[in-house]
Point group: none
Chain length 420, copies 2
């Protein structure tokens, strides 16, 4: 059984949008043991959408399209599918009602053209879209073939594919084998250092295989296994993960989709500890990441973004002399930020961050990227110096990563893991 | 003259690599006045590469492939092209010599399989690859058609396309026209409402054309013009932009790469106004966005992330009775946050944001997504209610967008633009 992915949109041909949808679909299908053989992209052009659809239906058992389901004139997918299948478009009253409700909930008037989104080819089954107005749908055709149409907005398409489409495809086509991947995420170590620690395993492992993927502030280790039995695949992944963790210890902070801020949040919850943040160069990013985690209000009390020196003094209580003597970007100021906000907010822990994100602000002694991060507990304050080499936004991200990782390691053990 | 882009590589079908090459090629060709009608992706499979090539040569005048030119067994492009064109592969001695030199320069021994990269279909013209070992090539076919093959590594492909391929294509096909695009970005309006305001223009405009692209909290209007003279193209874009701005007024916040926080930053700089932020549900994101802009320390003074009710009282000076009477998510509390931090920080302006990002925290009267945003100036405080329908992170993003947009509109005119 072979899949053809058909992505529709002139912006994709013009290169104004990069087609991430087909990569996402390919990855999810691969994991589900379903092979993709073709990917085709056409613009918002009736003739070519039709030609591509006919060709795809002729050479592939499963055709999955994204895009062109919106409310405007250049959203042609539905109409072309109906024409290619020689079926009429039917107004789906349930879909119409749910679009109406969506507008009503937001206190907006539904404009006439939104009704178009409730027109579905006759015989198609609607795939609900809880995140947007355009529904998806699928049609089962003679010879066991399937045509699936989904919206092009990634946040709408992704849950639809994962929760509605893939389970049905696996059932209809009797797919048993699965390729399973697992990601182990590390922070506080370089790729070459990681290669020294586990390179021998990475080169010799066959099933599962091991690959290293570098991201800003994190290196991911991807393990991939292929097995009919899910249990056996999981067991092989478990074994290899155990061997890797034995070598890497606390350098591994999480698995798969887990984000550093989620891991930190769980550790804070378990330890019943609260946190406050006084941040300068990261400009609110540390608070933003901590509060991206649902339920974070249980441990995140408050933050201060003390950008000006006056704010560092008045909001965070950093003594003026300290800034005058050492400069705002200095270990004593990071220290004072952390201990100051911890006392003011009455939390168990606090982070203080000061640095030069760039591109401006550097001096002869203090280059762009120089950053001090302090972590205060009731017992002590520890501080580390970092030197990041990115642009402004990368330096902010790397500093937030350094801060969250210091917090994580403190919560894990109280003892330092050697920085590398 | 129509182009088909053919990207080759199993990693593209598996979603392990995102196909940025075809977006780059599409963008460069569009700007050079050459239309792309099809994009096809196949894996490293001899049969399907051949099938895709035959099909592309049948329906497109120009076929541009990337990938599959490397030295390993699964690099099949050359061999398949030779088979499809029924031409032998010839060892190109100049290419062989340059590969040898490349290895020698790096002090490496050339392995036997690198010689394969010097095999080129008979009659093809080599495109030099100064950045790598795999050369590209093109073949001119009967009927004026052209087949171009380039390596898949972006840093090798890009200069080859720009410097070698596009100038030839423009000459051979007598292309004079160039396509230029411009993006107008709007905020505070839905796609269907925008369609009501400018749909007639969008449907009737031919050159430039108009397309609407929806993003979280922003709708982009893309104008695309095709003209021989670059100056004339710009003039047509200027004219259409002026007509759109006449209808949309302050709904348009920026052009092309401009981000909302950059526009707001420039307006603050020009007005010599300073800003502070007290944010709850956005958790630091408004401060993070404002401080992503280089030089923002000139107008951004400080922020407070007042997550707990205690922090709202102690840090931002929100009276306890106010929270007890109206709840933390209420217009009076947003009002108090904005005016409180404005006075404490001594800034000209301040934002106060309180809401329910979700998934928890909703009550019978207050659903997830309910958000109040207040903007305080020296003269007055204005407050707006929003109801967002996204998940936690989307709601944070939409609320930050709402806050920055209120600030922008205030700075633009002091007068409210009708919310839509």
């Amino acid at each position: 059984m072979g899949v053809e992915i058909l992505t529709i949109g002139t912006e994709l041909l013009l290169g104004q949008s990069i087609d991430t949808n087909s990569a996402y679909i390919g990855e999810e299908l691969a994991e589900a043991g379903i092979d993709v053989y073709w990917k085709t992209t056409v613009g918002d052009n009736e003739g070519r959408i039709g030609e591509a659809l006919r060709l795809a239906l002729a050479r592939s058992e499963i055709v999955i399209s994204t895009g062109g389901l919106g409310p405007t004139e250049d959203d042609l997918t539905c109409r072309v599918i109906a024409a290619v299948l020689a079926r009429p478009l039917i107004l789906d009253l349930t879909v119409l009602e749910s679009i109406r409700r969506r507008f009503a909930e937001r206190g907006l008037a539904m404009s006439k053209n939104n009704e178009r989104q409730a027109l579905i080819p006759d015989g198609a089954t609607v795939l609900r879209n809880p995140r947007g107005t355009a529904p998806g749908f699928f049609v089962r055709l003679e010879g066991g073939r399937v045509l699936v149409a989904m919206p092009g907005v990634p946040s709408e398409m992704q849950p639809m594919l994962r929760d509605e489409v893939i389970p049905r495809l696996r059932e209809w086509f009797g797919v048993k084998a699965r390729i399973r991947s697992r990601i182990l995420k590390t922070s506080g170590i370089t790729e070459s250092k990681l290669d020294e620690l586990i390179g021998d395993l990475a080169r010799s492992a066959r099933n599962p295989t091991i690959a290293l993927l570098a991201h800003a502030g994190e290196i991911h280790i991807r393990l991939t296994v292929k097995r009919d039995s899910e249990g056996e695949g999981e067991r092989l992944l478990d074994d290899l993960e155990a061997r890797l963790r034995e070598r890497l210890g606390a350098l591994v902070f999480g698995r798969n989709e887990e984000r550093l801020e989620e891991v930190v949040g769980r550790l804070l919850l378990n330890a019943k500890q609260t946190i406050a943040v006084a941040e300068s160069c990261t400009g609110g990013l540390v608070c933003h990441r901590l509060t991206n985690v649902p339920g974070s209000s249980a441990y995140f009390i408050c933050g201060e973004v003390v950008y000006s020196n006056e704010a560092k003094e008045s909001l965070a209580g950093v003594p003026r002399e300290l800034i005058a003597q050492h400069g705002a970007v200095s270990q004593p100021v990071a220290h004072a930020l952390a201990s100051g906000i911890r006392e003011a907010a009455g939390t168990d822990l606090a982070l203080g961050i000061t640095g030069i994100a760039g591109p401006g602000g550097a001096t002869a002694e203090k280059p762009v990227g120089l950053t001090y991060i302090a972590l205060a507990s009731r017992e002590k304050v520890t501080c580390r110096e970092f030197r990041f080499l990115g642009d402004r936004e990368t330096n902010k991200l790397l500093a937030s990563q350094g801060a969250l990782d210091m917090l994580r390691r403190h919560l894990l053990s109280g003892q330092d893991v050697t920085p590398t």
